[in-house]
Structure formats: structure tokens, C-alpha cells
């Protein structure tokens, strides 16, 4: 397979030749009748899974089946934040593994995913919150991640424009992870797609899975809108639609589908240095390389597959933004959109086998799936190739709810719209 490497030298050469030498990033193959491994879902996680299956675990004859176009779901709808600032032992090592993969992603893929480690700051508004964030910071350090507790004075130097003396929620400091940041979300999907395609993975678009074929309790293929495809193993990575797809295999999940909205303003000059999160409400904001302020907040809170939200949450998110940094009121909102997310019963994801032999499930990412993309793909590939969970994802079992081993960062209980 001919793969042309990207480089500065090549860019100059193409510029001098009128940019006529660029070729498509991946083939657009017809589905074959048989594969060893079929991955359902051509988003970030599915493409990353296929890439690592081929690259790290030496698997061949792999297909990714995508009902729309590659990267048409949540990998193109999120707020692009990458971070590993979790608390619990089942979570934090996984996200730190992901962070380490992000740090070498572009060299690995030879693709500019615009990974920018500009730091994240979680703001502190009370003494109790400082204690909680100090504990979280220590948990991060123990997992090998980085964390810094910032005083109010440190913060004023870094982000002078915040509303420090709000009567209700004064800002007392922050927990910073300097290695966190943002990445170009579509670029991540395209980079993994190009990498997987170059390793021989068939990326089949406009191919919706409509059923599973089993023999003696073992998976033997999938029915699709483009005909049946035999497969030795099938991996599902369709977060947002997990309930719908797994219902085809007769499984009910500890997941509800909810809509999460995101927003971007018109392009502005550089004003926000990294990612900021409001500790008194649910609001997070960063600035894209194009200049738009990218922000979001709570999910709408009711079951939805609509990929659009309603105005009360728009009002709520914007109110939080105004409370945190009043200057945001001068920016004009350019676009808002919604993505459908798998809200799991404990707020943490699932990467595991299923009761159907040879059928593997990856989902329940709540609104935190983007940052997990590399580690999710790696751990899912590990599980599919070896039959054993990757060490970093060993807690993400499907049966953890029945066993009582939930991973509940928020302590909100089995109420998906509170995670």
C-alpha cells in the first residue's frame, strides 16, 4: 500500500508544484465477505482500536464498519479537551495512559492532530473544595501524572480576567494539570483512519450494522445494510448508540443515551491560555487555534437521541460563563450543537467482553470519551486480540454493577443524568 509521509519538506515541495501531488488519506473499499475482526463504529474509538489492533497486536484482516462517514459522531462534536485529572484508582491510571499516548500521537501517526498541552485549571471556590482538589492532585501525582495547586495570586498572573470577587463564588485558587490541553478532534479521527488504512484495515463507510449472527452462542458475523459479513470477533465502539446496537444482540446495558451541548463563539484574539473549568457550576472553556471560545456545561438531563438540545441548558451554561468571566458576554455565539452520549450508571466507561462469545463492547463514555480515545483504542485492541483486559482498563468491567464495584467519581449513584 502506498503511503506518502507528511513532512515539512513535502509541504514545501507540494507548495512549489501547485499542491497537485496530495492523495486521499485512505481508500474507500467495498466490504469483503469475511474478516478476522470487525469493529462497528468509525469514530475516534473504533478507528483507534483498528489502528492498534494492526499496529501493536499484529492482527490482519480487520474492517471498521461505519453507518455514516468516518468521524461523524462524537469525535467531531466534543470540546477537544485532553486531560488526566481523575481521582479514583480504576480511572486515573487509564486516563494517564491515554495522556502519554496523546503526547506521542502525532509522531506515531505522522499526522498533525494539533495536540496542544496548554494546561487545564479547575477553579477552587471554597476551603472544602481546596481540600478535595488537593486530594485529587495527590491521586494524580501517584498515578504518574502532573498536578499543581495554584494560589489565588498564581491564578491572577495566569488568568487575570476571571471574576475573582464574585459575592457567591469567589475564586480561591485552582488545581492545574500543565500537561493537559486540547487536540484537533477531527484530526485525531483522520490520523487514526489514515494510519489504520495504511496498515491494511478496510474502512467501510455508509455501512450500518442491522444485526448480529451467532452460532452456538458465539458470534460469527454481522448483518449490514451492504450485506452480511462473516467475522471471527466483533468489537462495538458506538458510544451514543450503544443501547440501540447492543439491543440487536439481545443485551440491555447500564446506560442511558443523553444529549450534551457544546458552543463556540466567533474567532477572537488569543485571550484564554488553556482550559478553564468553573468549580461552582458545570462550565468549561478553552480557545481554539482559530480563536473561537469553545465551551460547554451540563447535559440536558433527559434521554435523547436527537443530537440537539434545548434552550434552558443553553441559558444555564451561558449564565455559568458570565459568572466566571463576565467579558464572555461581549463575544457573539457562532454555533451550538448537540451530541448523544452514553451516560453510564456510575459515570465511568465499559471495555469488556459480553455474554456473547467473541462479541466485545466499548462504551459508556459519558461526556469524557474524547480524551480517552488513544487509551480506549489501545485497551480495546488488547482485549480483542488477547482476550484479557489491558492493565489500565481492568476495572471497566460490564459486570461491575452487579458485583458492586462501581467507579463513581461524582458519588452520584445510579442516576445517569447526575454524573
Amino acid at each position: 500500500m502506498r503511503v506518502s509521509k507528511f513532512s515539512g519538506f513535502r509541504l514545501v515541495r507540494e507548495a512549489l508544484r501547485g499542491h497537485r501531488g496530495w492523495t486521499p488519506l485512505w481508500r474507500n473499499p467495498e466490504p469483503q465477505p469475511t474478516y478476522d475482526i470487525v469493529i462497528v463504529g468509525g469514530g475516534g474509538h473504533g478507528l483507534a482500536t483498528a489502528y492498534y489492533l494492526a499496529k501493536v497486536f499484529g492482527q490482519t484482516r480487520i474492517a471498521v464498519l461505519e453507518k455514516g462517514w468516518l468521524g461523524s459522531g462524537n469525535v467531531g462534536r466534543n470540546t477537544t479537551i485532553i486531560r488526566s485529572n481523575y481521582l479514583l484508582p480504576g480511572n486515573q491510571p487509564f486516563y494517564e495512559f491515554s495522556m502519554k499516548l496523546w503526547e506521542n500521537l502525532e509522531q506515531d501517526l505522522n499526522f498533525n492532530a494539533m495536540v496542544s498541552q496548554r494546561g487545564i485549571i479547575n477553579l477552587i471556590h471554597s476551603d472544602a473544595q481546596r481540600d478535595a482538589y488537593r486530594r485529587r492532585g495527590n491521586a494524580m501525582l501517584l498515578s504518574g501524572a502532573d498536578a499543581r495547586l495554584l494560589s489565588r495570586e498564581d491564578l491572577r498572573d495566569l488568568v487575570p480576567f476571571l471574576n475573582y470577587d464574585d459575592a457567591r463564588f469567589p475564586i480561591r485558587g485552582g488545581l492545574m494539570q500543565p500537561r493537559a490541553g486540547t487536540a484537533r478532534h477531527d484530526g485525531v479521527a483522520w490520523g487514526y483512519a489514515r494510519g489504520a488504512d495504511a496498515l491494511g484495515v478496510d474502512l467501510v463507510q455508509n455501512c450500518e450494522v442491522t444485526g448480529f449472527r451467532t452460532r452456538d452462542g458465539r458470534i460469527c458475523g454481522v448483518e449490514t445494510s451492504r450485506g452480511p459479513i462473516d467475522a471471527g470477533k466483533v468489537g462495538i465502539a458506538v458510544a451514543g448508540s450503544s443501547g440501540r446496537v447492543m439491543a440487536l444482540a439481545g443485551l440491555r446495558l447500564p446506560i442511558e443515551s443523553h444529549v450534551l451541548q457544546a458552543f463556540v463563539t466567533e474567532g477572537l484574539k488569543p485571550v484564554i491560555p488553556g482550559v478553564l473549568t468553573f468549580g461552582a457550576g458545570h462550565f468549561y472553556i478553552s480557545q481554539s487555534d482559530k480563536g473561537g471560545l469553545v465551551f460547554g456545561g451540563d447535559i440536558d438531563g433527559y434521554n435523547s437521541y436527537a443530537q440537539r438540545g434545548n434552550l434552558p441548558v443553553v441559558e444555564d451554561v451561558v449564565e455559568s460563563g458570565m459568572a466566571l468571566m463576565p467579558m464572555i458576554g461581549r463575544a457573539r455565539l457562532l454555533r451550538s450543537w448537540g451530541g448523544v452520549v452514553d451516560m453510564s450508571m456510575d459515570g465511568s466507561p465499559i471495555i469488556d467482553r459480553t455474554p456473547v462469545d467473541g462479541l466485545y463492547f466499548n462504551g459508556g463514555w459519558c461526556y469524557g470519551g474524547f480524551k480517552a480515545t488513544p487509551a480506549s483504542g489501545y485497551a480495546f485492541a488488547h482485549l480483542i486480540a488477547t482476550g484479557r483486559p489491558h492493565a489500565s482498563a481492568a476495572a471497566y468491567r460490564l459486570d461491575r454493577f452487579a458485583r458492586g464495584h462501581v467507579i463513581d467519581e461524582r458519588g452520584a449513584g445510579a442516576q445517569p443524568n447526575l454524573h
Binding site: S241, L253, E256, S257, G301, Y302, N303, Y305, A306, N417
Partner: protein, 94 residues
């Protein structure tokens, strides 16, 4: 979204808080055989349909009644609402 409250007429969905699938009304018997499995199903597993969904909304900033709202999760169209007490009386006559 406007929820057609059976007693109060159309009310803004913002006045309500959302709990989830109306199947939560049918709480398993904790003393029965197989209660552990039944509660695992009740607490954690959801049908999560794409389409018509019967769900529990609480009129927190209103008359504090529980409603069973029938809503399409693909379009957010609200197809009906009734008092949860009426639903329970109808579906589980004592």
C-alpha cells in the same frame, strides 16, 4: 419542551426534574426469591429506546406531583402525560 400536566395544563419542562424510565415505578419485592438479580436489573439496566419512551418527571417547582410523560427520544416530541399515581392504580390494581 412543554409538558401537558393533567391538572395544570401545559408547563415548561424547566419546572420539572427528570428521573428516568417509568419502569422504575415497578419496584421489585425485596423479600421475593431472586430479589438480588431483580434489583440489579431495576437499579442498573435500561431499555434506553430510540423512539417512544415512558419516563418519570417530578414537578418540583410546581405541584410536586410525579408524572409519567410519553416522549419521543428522537425528536423530543411529547406525546402525553398522566399522573404517576393514576398509572400505578391502573397497572397494579390492589
Amino acid at each position: 419542551m412543554l409538558i401537558p400536566h393533567p391538572l395544570l395544563g401545559p408547563r415548561d419542562a424547566q419546572e420539572f426534574t427528570y428521573l428516568g424510565d417509568a419502569r422504575l415505578l415497578a419496584r421489585p419485592d425485596g423479600m421475593a426469591e431472586g430479589a438480588e438479580a431483580a434489583f440489579y436489573d431495576y437499579v442498573y439496566l435500561r431499555n434506553n429506546p430510540a423512539g417512544v419512551h415512558r419516563e418519570l418527571w417530578f414537578h418540583e417547582h410546581g405541584d410536586r406531583s410525579w408524572l409519567v410523560v410519553t416522549r419521543d427520544t428522537l425528536t423530543h416530541d411529547i406525546l402525553g402525560a398522566e399522573l404517576a399515581t393514576d398509572v400505578v392504580r391502573r397497572e397494579r390494581p390492589r
